[in-house]
Symmetry: C2
Subunit: 328 residues, 2 copies
């Protein structure tokens, strides 16, 4: 720490402030110190007590998936006698220190960022503090410097589309997630590939892209189902969009699956609580939580990960929202 202080031309307490995420350090100084800590591969000395906690940061909007992930993280944490911390980083501005500053000050054993986008600065702070970070399915820009856990999104798109093709559908539409989300893009490209492998072509007029919300599914569903030649089946970017399509169909008096087949993605609890139960591509969220927790603990133990990116398999779960097209 003395070395870093000397190189940065600051006092040791200033380096300590940067390490502990405390305020009172000019942004430029902080960046210089962080860069030096990284360059020199600084690791928190073992005597600094880490609080016996694994913290999971969720980005608010996808929090309906949170419980399944927390379940997986908790199984690993319990085995290691660690507490599991829950943070929702939804950009609320609250008085006092931000969630990120508080998180750093607590020195958790490790941090799992679930569906969250850490800012490069937050990421640098964590790295500088020696707190391991693993990303769980970053739907945004992949930050290749962070180890991460995801699911095989592209294969999931293939499986969903093949299922519809086998039922006899040809006019297949896609309600996709945001085009700048890698996971959403992979699912959409999987659909396109499955069509092309079958000698067909995905009709771009039947594709819509937007946020992973119920409302987007409903609005895109209404748009697509009101076309002069509407699709007979829709593959959706996630389950919430699929539930939105259910509402669109209901508003237009269309029956699922008789008039329209629908496939979701994720397999959240809600897929079994709708009528009819939803055919969907399951992401193994609990297992992804487990894998992320194990990776972050391996990093905390100073191990090198054999694979910085792990992808768990998605599986098609066929329920009652898919059937052959009318007249097939």
């Amino acid at each position: 720490m003395a070395t870093i202080a000397e190189l940065a031309g600051v006092s040791k307490p200033t380096v300590s402030k940067v390490l502990n995420g405390r305020s009172g350090v000019a942004l430029e100084t902080r960046r210089r110190v962080e860069a030096l800590l990284r360059e020199h591969g600084y690791r928190r000395p073992d005597k600094t007590p880490a609080s016996a906690t694994l913290e999971v940061v969720f980005y608010g909007l996808e929090s309906h998936l949170a419980i399944q992930i927390m379940r997986g993280v908790e199984q690993v944490a319990r085995r290691h006698e660690l507490a599991v911390g829950f943070i929702e980083a939804n950009g609320r501005t609250a008085p006092g220190r931000s969630w990120a500053e508080q998180l750093l000050a607590r020195h958790p054993v490790g941090v799992i960022a679930a569906f969250s986008r850490f800012t490069p600065e937050q990421h640098a702070q964590l790295a500088a503090s020696g707190i391991p970070l693993v990303a769980l399915d970053p739907t945004g820009e992949p930050m290749h410097t962070i180890p991460s856990v995801g699911a095989t999104n592209w294969s999931g798109g293939i499986a969903a589309t093949r299922h519809l093709l086998e039922l006899g559908h040809r006019r297949i539409g896609v309600v996709s997630g945001p085009p700048d989300y890698v996971a959403a893009r992979a699912r959409l490209e999987g659909c396109r590939a499955a069509m092309e492998i079958a000698g067909l072509r995905l009709d771009e007029r039947l594709v819509r892209s937007g946020r992973f919300f119920f409302e987007r599914g409903r609005d895109f569903g209404l748009e697509l189902l009101r076309l002069p030649h509407p699709p007979t089946a829709l593959v959706c970017g996630n389950d919430l969009q699929a539930l939105g399509v259910y509402t669109a169909a209901w508003q237009l008096g269309l029956r699922i699956p008789q008039d329209l087949s629908v496939i979701g993605f994720d397999d959240i609890d809600n897929t079994r609580w709708c009528s009819p139960p939803l055919t969907t591509v399951r992401q193994p969220l609990t297992e992804m939580g487990t894998a992320a927790a194990e990776m972050v603990l391996a990093l905390a133990a100073g191990e090198t990960l054999l694979q910085p990116r792990v992808e768990l398999s998605t599986t098609l779960v066929v329920r009652e929202s898919t059937a052959p097209p009318a007249g097939a």
Copy 2:
């Protein structure tokens, strides 16, 4: 601690073990020490460091409500720079120490038991350790020794039933939660009271009671809707049961609300993701989480609670699943 050890006729390390929830103390000895700690109003001396965490224990089955509660707890925790711990106590048997033992050993600032039933022994352990405990809507037996936060369930039952009566319904059925759950009972009795105030009588043949599951709502819904004189409206014990009734109606080809009005209880996210959107009685879960966190922190600060039981208001949220009965 020396006094307690002497009175209990054990060594100081044994008292310490009991305080810290460690194993290796005979059950009877543990109980004797715990009773003495309680009698003598033992409080953990300030120098014992509590980990800066508020822990929330959920009982697995109601965990779809968890995120809203966690949100409320987290708002308070962040203001106090505390981490929020998440535990799912679903009776899994795992190797090593149980979640309760681990929880005790971590010395959180406080514990919120959400929809969980702590065993009397676990409760005694917490009390003996000086860790404050607040129950969040205990749906089971109320343990009057624990401060608790709930919602006005009875008034919610009244509001739901009055709404149906005002629409013109007279044959109102109830899919209720378990009869031994105080909250479920309060909702049912609220319905009954509203009927009687209106000079009507709740037909017991239209009442079913069972667990707060989707499947119970579906099965009871099928039973009630297949009666020779089926109800024109159903008040449900929670939203999951209401979604089950949706599926029952769908299976029987009945339309909601034209052929059947349905009201839920809780206002979970899913109520907006079904077709039609569900009319329900809102429990202010986030606010309940906030209130529980504030109570547990007050206890941790050595304050006496003015009210050991706080009930927050429920409110009827009218959406599209309720309408006048056919022919009205």
